[in-house]
Amino acid sequence: MKWISLIPVVAVGALLLFAATDFPEWGDPKSPASQSPVSSHFINNTGVDTEVPNMVTAVLADYRGFDTMFETVVVFIAGIAVLAILKGSGRRRRGPRTTYKVEAEPDLIVTNTVRLVVPVIQLFAFYVLAHGHVSPGGGFQGGVVMGASFILIALAWDLDHALVRMSLPRCIAIAAAGIIIYAGIGFLSMFLGGEFLDYAELERVLPVSREMARYHAMLGVEIGVGFTVTSIMFALYANLSSEGRLKGGL
């Protein structure tokens, strides 16, 4: 029966290869995508419009900020949905879990190393988040690194140890707070007279120019994204590693 599944695969492949012959030259600066007014506007005017050196951050958080808001919402949804799917379903424990018996005591070397490393990771997460305007990075990456530090705690000790620092209700609250920060900045600019997410209007409450208002609002937005991603990444791990029971080590 397996060969039947090859038919659609081969069909799609032929279709895609057929189209690939029509693509512009590899790396051609004159290709429509690279030459379009939209792309050139992003490259030429990001500095003028927002004063952010990293164009990707500027496009992500400002020009296409609405997309990014929903991207944050998607992360939020994933967290909520995983909680909803697994909550209360993990009481019947059976199957091969027992074959991976975890040692009762966390390892001394591991815990001490983690104790040393976690603050550095978290500091790096803040750096990635805050420095996203001028170097690769931003809310997502920073948030994921931050979430990873909590996962590391859960791996080195056990889940309870990490949940003391970041309980699940707190996770959801922080994730919701992230969206509130993001949407709140949008609302603020809406109430100040612009469109939703028109950060330039924030100049009326910030003592800076329109461009710098965009610059600073983007930082605020990235912090919101970082909140949501941090907590949801940890919540994902906590739920999946314990089948929603939220107890015990991996």
């Binding site: 279709l15 189209a19 012959t21 429509p32 379009s36 020009y63 296409r64 799917i85 997410l197």
Partner: protein
């Protein structure tokens, strides 16, 4: 209020966050919050629709982030465009959302106990995603919103039983293939046109004459294929029946009327706005072979519906058949066909909502949705059954209901375009639906005498006691939304001309053929 179009999405978004936060403290707060935010969204959608109708160009454009068109090239910011079609669909989405949110209280408490603070945020975000799909004017933003709607859908279905989780997994795999194919198609559009704005894409296609470009043709196929998978068109329908029939009541009430219809809207949007009429119908062969696929789809789905013995499963296959109607209405390439298609999106959303709301009540009262469990229900809950049959008659297409008028336009379109196969299959499926619903009528109305006496022979062993046929209507929080939905089905039927006028006004600029297409 100029920001009304943004509020359509922002109300449910705030509502969902508020539900998640306040629901942790007190889960009783979720239900009122969801109703309030849906009411707000409905108001905003009505406002948007009125703005679009009042505007001479019949559309409202709103660019997020203040990247206005005079100063920046098109496509720099993300644009929301509510033309008449988008505004109508958005209104349908939030309207259905409002009705279901009123209905949700008891089923959610019963079926997902203790999870209200998780369920309502998903519920509201689902509506956010779907309403956003209807309004957005940016091809990539559409992908993000499709994923918002899809992910919340997975969560809302799988929150129920283990069986639902298994069904959701199939849905997830197929849904991801569909959405990814769409994303790939958008990538092909981008590589050839360099923009993501829907109007911008069409401008570039027209300006650079990309009609015969292989990459554009493949982009069309990929996007079309992705959307067909997402809308459960017949060969790709495998995810739908199991997912909808095992989902919690509220979930199926929300998803069944909306998800497939919104995806059909996306197809119409792609055909008319993004690729343009000339590209979609003349440069590709889709209008040649799609009606035939539609014929196969409708016949198979109708036969499968006939084979079901459970209302929920039967309705799920009916949805698949209805998807066939609407897809056919688009691809017969005719003015009236498209009117019928768009009108059928609206009326099908209303009547499917009606049927699923009633099914939820039946499930609550009888603990089963099997046909044999319905005997004598009319004497038990007459109002619910009236609601159920208003929806049923509309699906069959009996005159005072809106289903009649939309089917009328579809058939007219098929006749004018001389696609006889499509017409015949519409007739055929109408016959099948008559059989389906009169089979149910026989069970619900006729099998028990008024006194609740067992009619005995000829109807199997009924064995109903008086107690079982006692008048016991559904609780008001479930009955009122059903009756509202039923009356909307009738109202749209009565005032069908108003709706059709707006659809005609939307379709006027596209110069669709009013006779045969080729």
């Amino acid at each position: 209020m100029e920001n009304a179009i943004a509020w359509v999405l922002l109300f449910p978004l705030i509502g969902s966050v508020a539900c998640a936060l306040l629901g942790m403290a007190n889960r009783k707060l979720c239900y009122p919050i969801s109703i309030i935010s849906m009411a707000g969204a409905t108001w905003a959608a009505v406002e948007t629709l009125f703005q679009a109708v009042a505007c001479p160009s019949a559309e409202v454009s709103y660019i997020f982030g203040g990247w206005v068109l005079d100063l920046f090239p098109r496509g720099v910011g993300i644009e929301f465009r509510a033309d008449l079609l988008g505004a109508l669909i958005a209104l349908v989405v939030v309207g259905v959302g409002l009705i279901v949110s009123m209905y949700a209280k008891l089923p959610v408490e019963k079926e997902t106990p203790g999870k209200e603070a998780l369920y309502y945020p998903l519920f509201l975000l689902q509506i956010t995603g779907l309403a956003g799909i209807a309004l957005t004017g940016d091809a990539f933003n559409l992908y993000v919103l499709i994923e918002v709607a899809a992910l919340t859908g997975y969560g809302m279905i799988a929150i129920g039983s283990n069986r639902a989780a298994a069904a959701t997994f199939n849905y997830l795999i197929l849904g991801t293939i569909g959405a990814s194919l769409y994303l790939l198609g958008v990538g092909y559009l981008y590589i050839k046109t360099g923009t993501l704005n829907m109007v911008g894409i069409q401008e570039v296609i027209a300006a650079n004459n990309l009609h015969d470009s292989p990459a554009m043709q493949v982009a069309f196929v990929l996007i079309g294929l992705g959307i067909l998978i997402k809308m459960a068109f017949f060969p790709f329908h495998a995810w739908l029946p199991n997912a909808y029939s095992n989902a919690p009541t509220t979930t199926s009430c929300l998803l069944a009327p909306l998800v497939t219809k919104v995806m059909i809207y996306v197809m119409i949007r792609m055909v008319l706005t993004v690729f343009g009429v000339e590209f979609s119908f003349e440069s590709t062969l889709w209008s040649e072979f799609m009606p035939w696929l539609v014929v196969i789809a409708i016949v198979c789905a109708a036969v499968m519906a006939l084979a079901q013995r459970e209302i929920k499963k039967m309705l799920a296959y009916l949805i698949v058949a209805e998807v066939g109607y609407m897809v056919g209405g688009v691809w017969i390439y005719n003015f009236y066909g498209l009117i019928g298609s768009i009108f059928h999106i609206i009326s099908d959303a209303c009547m499917t909502l009606c049927l699923f709301l009633a099914t939820g009540i039946i499930l609550r009262a009888c603990k089963t949705t099997h046909f044999d469990g319905l005997r004598g229900l009319f004497s038990k809950m007459p109002l619910t059954m009236i609601g159920f049959f208003v929806g049923g008659f509309s699906i069959i297409g009996l005159p005072p209901t809106c289903g009649f008028f939309s089917k009328w336009y579809l058939i007219t379109g098929g006749m004018v375009a001389e696609r006889w196969e499509y017409m015949v299959v519409l007739m055929f499926s109408t016959m099948v639906m008559v059989v389906l619903f009169f089979r149910l009528i026989e069970r619900i109305y006729l099998a028990v005498s008024e006194s609740g006496q067992n009619l005995g022979k000829g109807h199997g062993d009924l064995g109903l006691t008086k107690e079982q046929t006692k008048f016991e209507e559904a609780p008001l929080s479930m009955l009122i939304p059903l009756l509202i939905a039923a009356s909307i089905v009738m109202i749209i039927g009565v005032y069908n001309q108003e709706v059709v006028n707006q659809i005609e006004r939307f379709l006027e600029p596209f110069n669709l053929p009013r006779g045969t297409g080729h």
